[in-house]
Symmetry: C2
Subunit: 159 residues, 2 copies
DNA sequence: ATTCTAAATGCAAGTCACTTGCAATTATAT
DNA sequence: ATATAATTGCAAGTGACTTGCATTTAGAAT
């Protein structure tokens, strides 16, 4: 599994401040989860983790996720057949700074891949070829603003 | 929007029979929805449609969808931020016949694109380049068995 | 450091989209 | 025509959020 450099704590806190999001002890703990573990989190997994040590309320975590997402820190995604919503830190192409506005279409140059045996979720630091995206736009007549690509497969361990 | 030829009624009924799925009036109506409308259906949209004319029970439609999916007729997918599960007929690459077993990884050569303004869902009869999928496998160490790609954008009408 | 005020929290209750249990029916094979 | 495994209708249950509201608190302004 590849370890990619994510955004710094400071840049995230600045973003939150700018969005008018207050940093409470609970929210700091939620943020730390995302910073410390190279994996997508769910509302439930955060609640299990933070419930023990930090006894955070489910609804507070929920609202923290919403606030973080609206502030542009998190992206959400799902795997087909899975009821839960996953969240992970948005890692910008330049490794920490936000891209210019309007480039949102290709902002997240990574995707997710989940092992169908052990459930491990791995990041994939590559994106579909830009030229292919152009083909999609021409073929569909749509102007693409977002795309979500998720993989299932069998990881190296399980093979 | 492109109109692609889907599987024939007969081939679908054969598949269901083979899977031990009985064809009841209700299930026939569900199947007809998929055959008549070039769009993904949800449990709820089918219930609204069939509730009026055919007064089908929600749970029966639910179980029909499950049976159809297990028999290999339907695929399910979701759009991030959308709570509902969508279903659409699996349209094989050759336009009606199932592919050889083992080719499931690249069986569904189409994806979906939803307009963020009007909500229209359109099929996209193309798939990521096979060479790129190979790159993904090498980069991740995973053997890919499934991939799901959904787009959001602005359709020709809304632009 | 103290005050102020918009935000966040805890708790409880509500919503939505399924999902299941079970007794009564019914599509199919024989 | 009969047997029987599948399906149905109805009701109840589950999981994952999502919201309302009174109370508390982070962070800005003194």
């Amino acid at each position: 599994m590849k370890r990619a450099r994510g955004p710094s704590v400071e840049s995230l806190l600045v973003k939150l401040r700018q969005a008018g999001v207050k940093i409470t002890p609970n929210r700091r703990k939620v943020l730390d989860c995302f910073l410390s573990a190279e994996k997508p989190w769910t509302l439930s997994s955060l609640h299990v983790t933070l419930g023990k040590s930090g006894d955070s309320e489910l609804s507070s975590i929920y609202r923290a996720l919403e606030a973080f997402r609206q502030a542009g820190l998190l992206e959400e995604f799902r795997f087909p057949g899975d009821r839960q919503t996953y969240f992970s830190l948005i890692r910008h192409a330049d490794g920490g700074q936000p891209l210019a506005h309007g480039d949102s279409a290709h902002q997240h140059h990574h995707h997710h891949i989940v092992c169908q045996d052990c459930g491990t979720v791995s990041h994939l630091d590559m994106c579909v070829p830009a030229g292919w995206m152009g083909k999609v736009e021409r073929a569909s007549g749509f102007q693409i603003t977002e795309h979500h690509l998720e993989f299932k497969g069998i990881c190296g361990e399980c093979r």
